[in-house]
């Protein structure tokens, strides 16, 4: 019973077991729940890193549930899989790493952030379930299983968004909006699962990818899936829920929600690249995704400049940064058909887009944590009421500067690395898009300078006299995120070469994806 080939399921099962035990342990003593949560998430973080090393060296892993051996995808004498399986290739473990890092530091941050509220064990149980939902969405190779884990992540995040709703009204309203968005998107995903099952009598991603004929029904399924998953990821025409949900949720939960909406972005890329790939006319679908990206970029940043509430401002920036990812990968998809253009700039565009997912998760998480630190000490999110906090909260100010510089794409930080990749490759595809991207980046910098001025600079205000630095666990979480940002910023090609490039190649080559399952390797 060597543990090494059971790692994929242990990453999901251990936080799930911890989620069930936390309410039980909460009855005995409250302190142990936080420790158990951080322990479970640290175990899954270590396992995710071990699995990432194994996948980047050996190749995609498959884990079949209930079969006589973990890699037996095709039972004897059959040419299609019947059991559920986790299919983890370079792209899914890339997203798994983001989820593991973000949820681990979210748990550490909330060790001291959540002391003010009651119902602490329910909070930790929901946090673990949200992480399990995201891991399940990224690792599964079965469409219906993806729907179930999408639902777990949605319900856990609705409960967490309206967690503060016992004594305020706004979180309940934000939770209701998010619940509407996630129920509609989950049900339309289920409708698409019905369409695929009705035609091919299969539920496995790779098996359907090998059988797909892009008939009239498959076009409808694609036409349903793209807007619905873009809605979950916060792209513009349907982004109404993002500012409310991100500003009303507690700060560490907002950070994990950003990673959760990126998981549905990953699902969008997985469906477009691994399920349909060559069979769809890549140019039109690519241009649809590019238009989603452009709208998100522009409207996100223009709405952000006028905001007064610090977390709503950052939420609109999250919408505009999602636009960058959609733009990068949309360009890569648009040129998927002709291999010459793909080699020239398509792959670098996708590398920029996907690397931007990791960078965005890191610096947006850091920014939300600094906003949480301000709220934790001053009790308000309104920029007009804040002022002169740099005098009291030294570390938070430094972390805010790092985060703001990274999101604006200033050179030594990681935002610059991925945005540069996007600029130069999108420029060769269509110069106008690249110019819009640069303008949006400048507007982002402008709005963050405004935030820095109104929140941190200025004279010492009388009502913030007793404000002091945030507790150690919050500072530790923010410090580690800043180190990651700086490390990615200084050595971007190290990350791109052996983490992002295999992820992009595993998305583009559909045969490698279907081969791991149907080839019976």
């Amino acid at each position: 019973m060597n543990l090494s080939n059971h790692i994929p399921i242990l990453i999901i099962a251990i936080p799930l077991l911890a989620a069930f035990l936390v309410p039980l342990i909460g009855r005995i003593n409250k302190k142990a729940t936080g420790i158990l949560t951080t322990l479970a998430l640290s175990v899954s973080l270590i396992f995710t890193i071990a699995l990432a090393v194994k996948i980047l060296t050996v190749g995609p892993q498959v884990y079949v549930f209930g079969a006589t051996s973990p890699s037996l995808t095709l039972p004897s004498g059959l040419k299609f899989p019947i059991r559920i399986m986790l299919q983890i290739d370079a792209m899914s473990i890339f997203m798994g790493l983001i989820t593991a890092v973000i949820s681990f530091f979210g748990a550490i941050y909330s060790l001291s952030f959540i002391k003010k509220y009651d119902g602490v064990d329910k909070y930790y149980s929901l946090l673990l379930l949200l992480t399990v939902g995201m891991f399940g969405m990224e690792f599964t190779g079965d469409i219906f299983n993806f729907f179930v884990f999408l639902e777990i992540a949605s319900i856990a995040s609705v409960a967490l968004i309206s967690f503060r709703g016992v004594d305020y009204g706004e979180p309940a309203e934000a939770g209701f909006k998010y619940m509407m968005v996630s129920s509609i998107s989950a049900l339309m995903v289920l409708f698409a699962v019905g369409i695929f099952y009705g035609q091919y009598d299969l539920l496995n991603f790779a098996a359907i990818a090998s059988m797909i004929k892009y008939s009239q029904l498959d076009k409808i399924a694609l036409g349903l899936l793209i807007p619905v998953l873009a809605m979950k990821a916060g792209a513009v025409p349907m982004h109404m829920w993002t500012p409310d949900a991100y500003s009303e949720a507690p700060a560490p939960i907002t950070m994990i929600l950003v990673a959760a909406s990126q998981a549905s972005l990953y699902a969008l890329f997985r469906i477009v690249f691994s399920l349909y790939n060559i069979s769809l006319n890549a140019l039109t679908v690519g241009w649809i995704i590019i238009i989603f990206g452009l709208l998100s970029m522009f409207i996100g940043v223009t709405m952000a400049i006028v905001q007064k509430d610090i977390k709503r401002l950052m939420a609109y920036h999250a919408v505009s940064q999602t636009g960058y990812m959609l733009l990068g990968v949309g360009v890569g998809l648009a040129v998927l058909a002709n291999p010459v253009a793909l080699q020239k700039y398509g792959i670098t565009a996708m590398e920029g887009g996907i690397f931007h997912i990791m960078n965005h998760a890191m610096y947006k998480g850091l920014l939300f944590l600094t906003a949480g630190a301000l709220f934790f000490r001053t009790g308000t999110r309104d920029l007009n009421k804040m002022g002169g906090l740099a005098h009291y909260m030294k570390y938070t100010t430094i972390f805010f500067i790092i985060g703001a510089a990274a999101i604006a794409g200033l050179p030594p930080f990681n935002g610059f690395a991925s945005k540069l990749l996007i600029y130069e490759s999108v420029y060769r595809f269509n110069p106008l898009l690249s110019i819009i991207a640069m303008v949006v980046s400048i507007l982002t910098l402008a709005s963050f300078v405004k935030v820095f001025h109104s929140a941190f600079l200025g004279p010492k205000l009388p009502q913030f006299k007793e404000v002091k630095e945030v507790p150690r666990s919050m500072v530790f979480a923010m410090a580690v995120l800043s180190c990651i940002i700086i490390f990615f910023g200084l050595f971007p090609d190290l990350i791109v070469k052996n983490l992002v490039h295999p992820a992009v190649m595993s998305l583009i080559e559909q045969l490698q994806y279907t081969g791991t399952v149907l080839g019976g390797m």
Partner: protein, 158 residues
Amino acid sequence: MKEMSRIVKTVTNFVYGFIIIFGFYIIAHGHLTPGGGFQGGAVVGSAFALLLVSYGSLNSNKFLKKDIFSLFENFGLTLFIVLGFSGLGITFFYNFLANSGSWFGDAAVIGINPGDMNTGGVIPLMNIAVGLEVLSAFGVILLTMARGAEFTKKKENS
């Protein structure tokens, strides 16, 4: 919710025992007859709803305790995931009891057969675990929302 008239309460006293037994029958025979953990749990949940409605949410707290339900729920789910883990020697959800002669281990007669309780391997155990979890989940949801409705009604009168 106010409690109902005396007639309804006497009928409920008489009927709710049979509903619960029927629910446990569906849970236990999940692998032979149509039904299983979820459907049986729902039937037993309907018995709790009947008790809650007929006795009103205030004095039904005397015999429908919320923390016992949440204790059962955690226990049911931990049993379910431990059954999943126990197959870990081979793979996560491996049915290690099927055709193994031990508990629920007899091999089923292939084709039409009258149905033998001792077959099915891990499935009856999972049925019981999920049935326990669903019935206590219904209990907790009904009681919490009834108490919440009580609170909003008080807000209306004030």
